[in-house]
Amino acid sequence: MLRRIHLRPRVGVAALMCLVVAIAAWVLFAGQAKRLEWTAASEAALRKPTGYPQLISVEPFPGMDGQMCQWVPANAMTSLRTALQQERRAAQTAAQATPPGFPSAAQQTEVQERSPLRIIRDPYPAFSSVAVDTVHDEVIFTDENLFQILVYDRMDNTPPTATMTEPKRVISGLQTKIEFNCDLYIDPKTGDIYTIAHDSGGMPLTIFSRQAKGDVPPTREIDTPKGTYGIAVDEEAEEIFLAIQHDSAVVVYEKYAARDDPPIRLLQGDKTMLGDAHGIALDTKNKLMFVSNYGSSSSRAPLPQREGEAWETGQERERKPNWPLQRSQAIPGTGRILPPSINVYPIKAQGDVPPLRIIQGPKTQMNMPSHLFMDEERGELYLANDMDNSILVFDSSASGDVAPKRVLKGPQTLIQNPTGVFVDIKNDELWVASFGKHVATVFQRTAEGDTPPLRVIRNGPLDAPGLMIGNPGAIGYDTKREEILVPN
């Protein structure tokens, strides 16, 4: 038993040694075979193994035509200067930050299609001017918020419980060229609607037929200066008068002028004392013209045209006869801010002539005087007095610092920031368009004081505020109060 135990380790060791010898022999002879293959391959490539490194190829260095470092003399002074220069350059490089990379197309698309969180916008129309078609018993308004002409029945009366009165007809859309339209005139013979756009690039005076409806082009257009605010027509002379706010001017056109016809008269200049002109009214009986003014203006002079210099395209219309001098022709530093006024001129006034008289001063109660209406029958001048929430009535011969004959004002009138006023002489009624309250109100012609209206046409709910946002050309943010500032 012991013998068998002693024999078995001896046999195991011998077997292990045999295995090691066999593996060693395989490695040795197999490696020899591989080396023979490599040798044959090298000989085929005309190189023979030598046991030393061999040159197998020659490649030239890259060209040396780039910028090279400047050699710096190795003395202490220049070394210090060089070190300082390098430090400064390093600082400059750090300051010249590279633009950040671009977001992915998917990220850009997601942002581009993102909807606004909130939109401050008055959803209802804002009546800015009013006129009555007494032949067809219709009342027509300009809406300066949603860019529409709205036609109602003259006798419409919105019940207190109703949200609003639906108009009979609406003219609106890109084809109409109605944008910030702020005044209108109804041709008493045809019922045609003459309306002016206040503040858009090169918007014309547009004329629509009485039955126009929807997104339709005007039947006629007349190119006018930018910033027209008020319109009045002398039917006997067949002339259209326009008050130009931007240029503190009045231009007069022939009533049936075509698109590019120039004005036939111009009233503009320092002597006229026009300033931020707004409303305009005519007294054809006494041959007078009335213009309301906020008061701001500046002196203007024609731009010199240098020899050989071509006029720019946009300047072509400025070369028309009787075209007012533009804001670009204002003389720097000549600006004026005068009190509000109503200036009175001869109806045919032109050039730089002074007014016959001016209604102006604290007794007049004027505060941002807007549209005017002349009641020739009674010799009374009506003013929509925007900031005073009132209608002021002056005698047509009023002059200087005088109080109005009548004032229509108070909470019962529902008048708020009135910009439009019209006297319906046939029906003995006074119409007021309130820009600040979604409401038009009808009164007896001679109403005064805090009188409730005879009828009301609302274009929005009774309690809906009129935001009066109009052409918000800028926006600000009050970080202290967390409020959004929207100027008109």
Partner: protein
């Protein structure tokens, strides 16, 4: 049109009424206020009044028919038709692009005062301006380009960089107002877009674009918000509310103020 600055709560929406209004004859405001700047350091509101060639500064909390606290106005001012402006409340300056030049007034200038600096350039000075007191540049916007100037520039000078070119010039079509986000060097521009409905001021291609003050040459905007073919029809004003990561845009055609959440740029 009723001249006013209507002031709304940050969260106002729809037809919500303003919390206050600055309007009336005593304010000296006229309409056509095409720029407004709120100075958060001194709590003031600054606007141009182009008909009277004036710059009006109101108290930040002004309300109702309140007169401005300062008026820059008169023969020394060189003001011709101030339409837009920018303020640098850190360095106490008001920038007014006017007549192809940049007129720089001291913030506290009042009455008939001359500008402290007048900057001009061969390439002209654009119509909109915003100042970055952190990176010491100001940016002006022309009809087809944005120009980046050294903030301390004076006299006749050259812009440091001009963004615009044949590929992306249309992207900078009618940059009406500019605002900056200095911590990240963003230039945010209200672009009215290519107007294909003349004479209407209406463009479906209107948008607010974002560039960087280090951009140079014919670089497209990194971001466009509100369009093209979005909600905007005539972007005119733009301002940031960094605290709530929003950009607020006024739109002339919509008669509206739109607030967009835009955290990517803050």
């Amino acid at each position: 049109m009723h001249p006013q600055i209507a002031i709304f709560a940050r969260l106002a929406d729809g037809g919500e009424k303003p919390v206050r209004q600055i309007h009336g004859q005593k304010t000296l405001l006229s309409r056509t206020v095409h720029a407004i700047a709120y100075d958060g350091i001194h709590d003031e509101i600054v606007v141009p009044q182009q008909f009277a060639q004036a710059i009006l500064t109101f108290r930040g909390g002004a309300n109702g028919e309140e007169a401005p606290i300062r008026v820059i106005h008169g023969s020394l001012t060189q003001l011709q038709r101030p339409d837009r402006l920018g303020i640098d409340p850190v360095n106490n300056e008001i920038y007014v692009p006017d007549g192809g030049k940049m007129l720089v007034f001291h913030r506290e200038a009042n009455g008939n005062v001359a500008p402290i600096r007048v900057i001009s350039s061969d390439s002209g000075i654009g119509g909109a301006v915003a100042i970055d007191p952190l990176n010491n540049v100001f940016v002006t916007g022309g009809s087809r380009s944005l120009q980046i100037f050294d903030r301390t520039a004076s006299g006749h000078t050259k812009p440091l960089r001009v963004i615009g070119g044949p590929k992306n010039g249309d992207k900078i079509r009618g940059s009406k107002n500019i605002t900056l986000y200095p911590p990240r060097g963003w230039i945010i521009v209200a672009n009215q877009g290519v107007n294909r409905h003349r004479p209407m001021d209406y463009s479906e291609e209107s948008f607010v674009g974002v560039w960087n003050i280090h951009d140079d040459g014919d670089v497209p905007p990194r971001w466009m918000i509100g369009g093209p073919f979005g909600a905007l029809r005539q972007a005119r004003g733009v301002v940031l509310d960094p605290k709530h990561k929003t950009v607020i845009v006024s739109d002339k055609y919509l008669n509206a103020a739109l607030t967009y959440y835009f955290p990517e740029i803050f």
